[in-house]
Structures are given as structure tokens and as C-alpha cells.
């Protein structure tokens, strides 16, 4: 009986300790991250609204990533409708549905065949298109894409002309990833090669394990662009990628450059670029971003010596094209007056860097999301090392001072005995 009581008392103590521990943890968590602890429930759905028996028509596949939060929902839609496109829709309710009218989507009149219900809940939307892959012959090894003579420019690969694989093959619903690969079927250079876009969705704050190790949160997803084993058209070929961003009018976008002293997660890269979309004249809140570091990797598992710098030009305004299936399906055919279209070119490699034909591989990663991009901070290890490194000498200095003072003040005991009286 006594033993039982003791056990119970012990249990109580344990529970109390646990409570304290959890409380500390929560407080610590709030202190560290605050709102960044935000979580969403992420689910992936392929070709929503299409009968599972019938495969996607005309080699088109649409991946719907739904990230449900407490009182809002993020829809990421990756589609091989026209050029590979990513549509980002932010709604102000946790109960919204993506609807696709497949019959209309496949016809000429596909305007508004993709929509989110209820329509009124849409807070913000933007589309990101990967339209062209540039290739140029860098004969003089200057890696200066904007001023490369036109005779050295190869005709760009128009990604809307590519044939894209069925996403069903690559979708991973537990890891929240999918990879869209395509090739130019009429081109001999693509016999063994392909161009791929890999999407990763996230439900909470975290960091990618592979370089560039972007810090991501529940409001973002990551797109990795990859040129794999495509044969170059010259021995000194370098490549580039054209990004197109479609925003509502009244949203200003520009490229924000941040210098960071912290290259722990992406060694030797000290800049971060973000294509920011800001409400109003640039003074309003940041609505969304496309975020990248100026680095591409020349092999499948990124390592330091295979990193190659990337550069960008733009943004410049861009004319609308009738081939952009997904934007037309969502925004309608009459995009131009109501929306702003911008393009940014990312080019890979700088003067003196090896050409593409050294590894036949290139990968470049960007993070797309709503709100402001998550900000990196020093890792705990760095903070600890600095704290110990600077703290220990201080502590020893203090201890030394005390010891020396004590030694000096050592009371001199009077010789002989004290008088008795």
C-alpha cells in the first residue's frame, strides 16, 4: 500500500516535470520561431476531377497540391499544359475546392476551365511558367549571355513543344514530391536526355537536405529545374532558363538582392535573390515570392566543387502567348490588360567555369511561396562555438583575477598565541 502511494506520488512528480518540460519547450519554440511554427495539412492529388480509370488526355497531367491551414488554404497546381507551369492560389478559407472542367480544358475555349470554389475566397494568385531553355555557344568563354552574338545563339527549346511524362509515374504522396520530365521528341539530342521540374511541397518549417538547402515553411514549395543528359549543340555550350511570372495588375514585382554572411547551408554563396510581389506601389505587404540563390550544380548529388554560379537578367515585360495553357485556363484568354507579365532569364556558369559537356547535367532550385520568404539565421552550432570560444577566455580571465586577488589578500595570521584575557 505504502509502495503504491509512493509510486503514485512519483507519477505525480513525473507528470509535473513533464509539464514543466513541455512548457519550456513551447516557450522556447515561440521564442525561436513564433509564427514560423505554422503547420499545414498537405495532400497531393493527380488530375483532380478526372476519372481514375481514364488516363490524362493528350499527355497532359495536372498535380494539385493542397495545403490546408487553420483558416486559409494554399493551392499549388503544377501542369504540363503548354509549358510547365506552376499556379499558386491563396484562399482565405480552409474549405476550398479546386475544380477542373476537363472537357472544356482540352478544347480551344479553355478560359476559366480551372477555378477554385468558392471564387470569392481567392485572396491572391500568381502563375510561374518555365517557357524556354536557352543554349548558346560560348566560344570566347565569357559566359555573357545577354550580349552573346546572335550567330552563337542556338534556337531556344520551347518547352510548350515538349512531350511531358505522365506525373503518375513520379508522384510520391508521402514525401509530397513529384517530378515532371519531358523531351523534344523530334530532336536527336534528347534520345537519352530530358528536362525535368521537380516539385516538393512542405507542411512545416524545415530545411532541405540537399544543397542549396533552402529554409522552407508551410507557405512555400520548391521547384528544381534539371537538364539531364541532353546533348549540347556545341562543345562550348552554356544554358539558360526563361521564367515568366504572371501577376494581377496593381502588384509590383522586382528582384530583391540580399547579401548574407551566412553560407553554411550553401557553401560559398553569399547572395539570395527574391522576385518579390508587393501590393500597391511597392510599399504594401509582400504577397508572394520566387526565391533563389545564384548557384547551379553540375552533378546529381550537389558537391562543392561542382557548384557553378548562376546569373539573372530582368525582370522585363513579356508579351502574352496563346500557348500558355494553364494561365489561360485559370485567368482566361484576355490576360493582357488585367495582368502584368514579366520574364526573368537565369543563365548558368561564369567565365572560366567548365562547360556543360563536362558533366551533361545541370540543376537549379528555387522556392515559391506566399508572404515574405523565410529568413535564414545562424545555426545553433555556430552560435554555440562562438559563445564557448569567446566565453571561455572571459571566464578564465575572471577566475584568474579572483584567484590572484584571493592569494594577495590571504590574511597574515599573527604569530604566536592570542592573549588569554
Amino acid at each position: 500500500m505504502q509502495l503504491d502511494m509512493d509510486l503514485q506520488r512519483g507519477d505525480k512528480h513525473f507528470v509535473l516535470l513533464l509539464h514543466i518540460f513541455i512548457n519550456i519547450h513551447v516557450v522556447w519554440g515561440l521564442f525561436l520561431g513564433g509564427a514560423d511554427q505554422y503547420q499545414r495539412k498537405v495532400s497531393l492529388e493527380l488530375n483532380p476531377g478526372l476519372n481514375s480509370t481514364s488516363s490524362a488526355p493528350f499527355n497532359v497531367s495536372i498535380l494539385h497540391v493542397k495545403a490546408v491551414g487553420n483558416n486559409d488554404t494554399l493551392h499549388f497546381i503544377l501542369a504540363s499544359l503548354g509549358p510547365p507551369s506552376l499556379l499558386l492560389v491563396h484562399t482565405g478559407s480552409s474549405d476550398t475546392q479546386l475544380k477542373i472542367d476537363w472537357n472544356r480544358l482540352m478544347t480551344e475555349n479553355s478560359s476559366h476551365s480551372v477555378w477554385v470554389e468558392p471564387v470569392s475566397s481567392v485572396l491572391y494568385s500568381r502563375a510561374l511558367l518555365f517557357t524556354k531553355v536557352w543554349e548558346y555557344n560560348d566560344v570566347n568563354d565569357t559566359a555573357d549571355f545577354p550580349s552573346a552574338p546572335s550567330k552563337y545563339m542556338f534556337p531556344p527549346y520551347n518547352l510548350e513543344d515538349f512531350v511531358w511524362d505522365d506525373l503518375n509515374k513520379s508522384v510520391d504522396k508521402t514525401a509530397h514530391t513529384a517530378k515532371l520530365c519531358g523531351k523534344n521528341v523530334t530532336d536527336q539530342d534528347f534520345v537519352n536526355g530530358s528536362i525535368c521540374f521537380k516539385i516538393s511541397a512542405f507542411d512545416a518549417l524545415g530545411r532541405d537536405e540537399e544543397w542549396p538547402c533552402f529554409l522552407h515553411d508551410a507557405n512555400s514549395s520548391q521547384i528544381q529545374f534539371e537538364i539531364d543528359s541532353v546533348l549540347p549543340r556545341s562543345n562550348k555550350s552554356r544554358f539558360g532558363l526563361e521564367l515568366v511570372s504572371i501577376e494581377e495588375n496593381g502588384v509590383r514585382s522586382w528582384i530583391d538582392t540580399k547579401h548574407s554572411i551566412d553560407d553554411e547551408y550553401t557553401p560559398s554563396i553569399f547572395q539570395v535573390y527574391s522576385l518579390l510581389s508587393v501590393k500597391g506601389n511597392g510599399s504594401g505587404p509582400v504577397l508572394g515570392y520566387t526565391h533563389w540563390k545564384p548557384v547551379a550544380y553540375r552533378n546529381r548529388t550537389p558537391v562543392f566543387e561542382q557548384a557553378t554560379p548562376s546569373r539573372h537578367t530582368g525582370p522585363q515585360s513579356k508579351l502574352f502567348s496563346n500557348h500558355w495553357g494553364l494561365p489561360i485556363a485559370f485567368y482566361g484568354k484576355d490576360i493582357e490588360p488585367k495582368y502584368t507579365i514579366m520574364s526573368v532569364n537565369i543563365t548558368f556558369g561564369i567565365a572560366g567555369e567548365p562547360y556543360y559537356n563536362e558533366t551533361y547535367y545541370l540543376s537549379w532550385t528555387s522556392l515559391v511561396g506566399i508572404g515574405s520568404p523565410p529568413e535564414d539565421s545562424f545555426s545553433t552550432l555556430v552560435i554555440c562555438i562562438i559563445a564557448v570560444g569567446l566565453g571561455a577566455p572571459m571566464a578564465i580571465l575572471l577566475m584568474g583575477c579572483i584567484i590572484v586577488q584571493l592569494k594577495r589578500r590571504k590574511p597574515v595570521t599573527p604569530p604566536g598565541y592570542q592573549p588569554i584575557n
Binding site: T266, G352, P354, V382, I386
Partner: protein, 528 residues
Amino acid sequence: MALKEENKRLLAEDDESEPSLSNSHSRYDSDSERQMSACCDPSHLLHRIIVLIFMCFLGFGSYFCYDNPAALQTQILQDMHATTSSFMQLYALYSWPNVVLCFLGGFLLDRVFGIRLGTVIFSLFVCIGQVIFASGALFNSYWLMELGRFVFGIGGESLAVAQNTYAVSWFKGKELNLVFGLQLSMARLGSTVNMNIMGWVYSRIELTLGHSGYTALGITLMIGSATCVFSLICALVLGYLDKRAEKILNKEQGKTGEVIKLTDVKDFSLSLWLIFIVCVGYYVAIFPFIGLGQVFFIEKFNFSPAQARAINSIVYIISAPASPVLGFMVDKIGKNVIWVLCAVVTTLAAHVMLAFTFWNPWIAMSLLGISYSLLACALWPMVAFVVPEHQLGTAYGFMQSIQNLGLAVISIAAGSILDNRGYLFLEVFFTSCVCLALIAVVMLYFVDLLRGGELNLSAKQRLKRQKISEAEDEKRQRLLQQRAEELARLRPMSAFGLRNRYLSRLGAQLPDHYCTHLSALAHRSVLK
């Protein structure tokens, strides 16, 4: 082939020297005064100046080629497809043989080869090492390059000892300080020229070949090895001139006088061990950093390669004029521990600046240059304060051995940290190494304070104590002559103080090992 023959000739001469000495001596004696002009007379200043020129260029090749990897970092990484860790192996492999050779160099020169043959042998090692290094690049095999650096390392550090021994044997009692100064400047000139010129040479060769790649790198390094061949020729000429002077002037072959007893280690005091820690913690945050510096400045601060090479050599450039000035200052003021503390704190600040700010790196690098010179002036002489004279050789040898061990290990670590964690972490790592040195200095200060403040005396106090102890020594010497060697302690003030002291005492015909510290000071870390 020609080299070999000349070598053989030298060897043969060495063997014959004993029996023929008296003959040739008398012959020269009778002719010398009538026939020899000033530049051929070994006792004349003009002749010694000619010897000095050869002496200065003796070390030029090794100093020029030591930092070849740093000067060609981008090219080596690209053309040899090397990772940063394998690049840093090139530096580590230079240090490995010297972990042992620090103890052996003096012994080999004195007892085994003699100064002339020893110098030629070490020059040959340097030369062959550099040629192997270059052919490694030519044949696109990285392991051959690594082997080359190892062989280069065997010769490099010991050659510096030989160079100093030559200087003492030709200039003792005369212009020795100036000669040391000139050799020092030459060493720095070698490093600086290398840093700033090799990239340019590479680009010229790339232009002539029409393409970059390992061939261009190999040819560039082969051109670099010309400096080593030049140094080897200097070694042969010096050997000849020294031999000739021996015959004419009937003087002895120079000796380092280094005595190393490894069992002395057990007698080393806590202060000495702390000095060792300062030495290792400090230097590992300097040399590997300079090795990796070029690409760091290009990538973090967007410097052009030429600018990056210039800023990377600023530490050496600054230390050239700063060393004598700071040496004089430390000499006059004393308080060595405080100066070491200042140097370490300044270096810490410089590394923190480089790690955590985008401030113009010229500030941080200049600070690094000054503090580096200050540390060399204040730290190395401290060893002589805490070690009895007869153990100095062992203490300096041990210090350099540990330093080389640290350099080898940290070089590899730095390379792999950069490969995996980037520059911020690398700088934090170097910062923590300097912090270790700082902890050791602070502890050294208190240990010294509690034990009566031997190290941190001002120059005046030191002089006073020295006088007292000298007077006491004299008394004791009279009383206990057999224990005199144990009790007598030389208390020199700095590298230059040490040398001066040595010179002033030479007249008194002290035992050989009283100049042990001289050869120890010839090592790269002190000279640079």
C-alpha cells in the same frame, strides 16, 4: 646530369679535403696576397657581398614554391578536378615530414652531411619535389602532385636552417643582423612575387596554348621550378665558395650547434606548454587561411583574381617592414605576454570581421599582418625565458614539430570544412582556434603572475634582474664551477636580441650549444 657530376665532384672534394688541406693551404698562402683581387678574396667585404647574394637566393626557390598552391588555387581546383580537402592535402603533406625533421635538420647538417653537402641535398629535395609536383600536373595525376609536395617538404624547412648556418659562418661578428634582415626580406619577396605573378604566368600560357587545363598548369609549375633550380645552383656555388674559403682562410665548416634531447620534454614547465598551445592555435589560423584565401576573397567579397592574390599576400608584405619595428618596440618595452595577448586579440578581431561582416577585407587583412608580425616578435623569444639554455634546441624543435603537426591536421580539417559547411563555418573554426590561443595566453599570464612574473617583466626590470642574476651567477660559478652550466641562464629579449647576445658572447668562446636558438629561428614560421 651536369648537376650530378658537380655533386660527385663536391663529394670527392669533401673526401679529399683532409689530406690535401695542408698542401693547398700553403700554396694559397704564398700566392694569395699578390694574385687575388677584392672580389675573389674571401676575407674581403666585396667577396662576402657576392656570397650574400647567393645566400639570399638559396632560399628564394623554396619560398617562391611553398605558396604555389595558394597562388594557383582556382586553377588547381579546376584543372585537376580537386576538392578543397584534397587541395589542402598539398599543404598538409608539406608539414608532415617536418614534424620529424624539425628535430633532425640540425643533426643532419652537423653530423651527417656537413653544411655544404647538406645544403645541396636539401636544395635537391626542394628542386626534385617541385619538379615532381609540376609533372603531376602535366600528367594529370594528383597523387604525383601530392608526392611532389611531400618531397618538397623534406627539403624546404631544413634548407632554411642551412641558409642561416651559412649566414652565421660567413658573417658572425660582422654584419649578421643585416644579413638576417636581408634573408628575411628575400623570403618575403619570394612569397609575394609568387602570389602575384603565378596567376599571370598561367594566363599567358593558357593564351599561347589556346586552352586551359592540366597542361597549362603543369607548364606554369615547371616554370616555377626554375626558381628551385636557380636556388640549387646557388647551393652548389656556395658550396664551392665555402670550400675555397676554408682552404684559404683555414676556417671550419659552419655548424648549427643544435643539441636535441627528447628526454628534456619531461622537464618542460607549464608555461612552456602554454606557449606551445598559443603557437599552434595561432599559426593554424594563419597559414591554412592564406592557403584558402584567394577563392574566399573572390567569392565572398567579389574581388577579381588579381585583387584577391594581392590581398592574400598583404600579410607577408606588411610583416616585412613591421617585424623590425615591432621587434625593436618589444625589445625596449618588454612585457612579452601582454604583446602576445594583443596580437592574439587583434587576430581574433580580424577573423571575426572576415567571418561576420562585409567590411572591406583590407582592414582585416592589414590587422592580421600587423598582429602576425607582433606575435612572431613577442612569442618566440619567450621560450628562451622559461627554458634553460641547454634545452633551448629541444624546446624550439618541439615547438616547431607541434606547429607542423597542427598545420598538417588543421589544413586537412579546413579543407573538408569548406567543402561541407562553407566559409562562415570555416572562419568560425579559425576563430575558435584563435580562441584556444587566447585561452592559453590568458592562462599563461596568470600562471606567470602567480609564479613571480618572469615572462611579463618590462625591459627595465628584466635588465635589473639579469644584472643581479649575472652577478649571482658569477659568484656561484666561482663557488660551484661544475654546476655553472645548469645555473647560468641567458635572458635574451627578442629574436634580434638573441642574435646580438650570441654575437657578443662569441668572443668569450662559449660552448657550441649556446647558439642553439639561431637555427631554430630559421624556420618558416619565424622567418615569414
